[in-house]
Amino acid sequence: MTKPLIGQEIARQISGGVPQSVVDSGQSWVLVQPESVLQVARYLKTTPGLEFDYLTCLTGTDYLDYIEVVYILTSMKHNHSVVLKTRCNREKPEVPSVVELWRGADFQEREVYDLLGVKFAGHPNMKRLFLWEGFKGHPLRRDYL
């Protein structure tokens, strides 16, 4: 069974590696600044003892005040996992892409862009995945009708 790491402990480690990136943390999650997602992700992937080499899931949620992007990370080596979250501005949501770290993020970032409108800066092919070019709006936003 994969062991979920304690969010607060990971947050303390991240604060040491990437200063001023952690906003909040809980039992199972760490909330970071949207601008520092890529540095935090790289830190989590490369730091010995953490080595999150596998992105299980990347998804987004619309909370009306902000859009939250969630990364569920797993380490194949140590068999542990952690949830990384970031909250971005609803009007102009932009988060750095993590495709260069985990190739599996490619389609999932495109999906989040397609359905929620979050732009992933640095993504090699940032376009709609499911819907067609020219579709108006992002249908998983809660004000979409």
Partner: protein, 196 residues
């Protein structure tokens, strides 16, 4: 419908695809009429032609080759229908063709999205006459749960004319077989040199 010219760049290709889908949506706001008004139009043909039609229909009836097209979960029931327990071979339908050009029957099994719709229309156009369509399951009939969704076609009869509707979510293999038997009845009523 033309899908692409060889020198289109990827971006232009996407835009072209989007344009075609938008155009198809604009064109498909009303359902296509079911092709069955000929069924009760009375027999106006001579005895000789009726006999030929009978033989032809008998042949078509027992060799309706379906096109293996599964769009969503209904496809599992379609596969179950084809496999040994329900055994669609009894109706001479065991050969699921991988190409529309060799198929007579299009079983639309599952949810049809607008992005898939041009492809379905194209496959239908590629099938040789005479051809039939079964709309299998709630999504194919009316859009089902997703009827008012932003991306789902509310019934495949917006895109292609449907001969038999098989309700269910998903329909049991028995239901699909019953639909196939209904279709056979319809095939038996076809007249010689019928254009529909």
């Amino acid at each position: 419908m033309e899908i692409g010219k060889p020198d289109l760049s990827l971006r232009e290709f996407d835009l072209e695809e989007g344009r075609q889908i938008e155009e198809l949506i604009a064109r498909s706001q009303q359902p296509i009429k079911d092709p069955d008004e000929w069924l009760d139009s009375g027999l106006r043909q001579n005895v000789f032609m009726t006999s030929i039609a009978k033989v032809l229909n008998w042949g078509r009836h027992y060799s309706t080759w379906p096109f293996g097209s599964g769009l969503a979960c209904c496809a599992m029931e379609m596969v179950a229908t084809a496999s040994s327990r329900f055994d669609i071979t009894r109706f001479g339908m065991d050969v699921f063709r991988a190409s529309p050009r060799q198929a007579d029957l299009f079983i639309v099994a599952g949810t049809l999205t607008w992005k898939m719709a041009p492809a379905v229309r194209r496959l239908y156009d590629q099938m040789a006459e005479p051809k039939w369509v079964i709309a299998m399951g709630a999504c194919a009939i009316s859009g089902g749960t997703f009827a008012h969704s932003y991306s789902v076609v509310p019934g495949v009869n917006r895109i292609i004319p449907v001969d038999v509707y098989v309700p269910g979510c998903p329909p049991r293999p028995e239901a699909l077989i019953y639909g196939v038997m209904m279709l056979h009845k319809k095939i038996d009523k076809r007249r010689f040199r019928q254009q529909d």
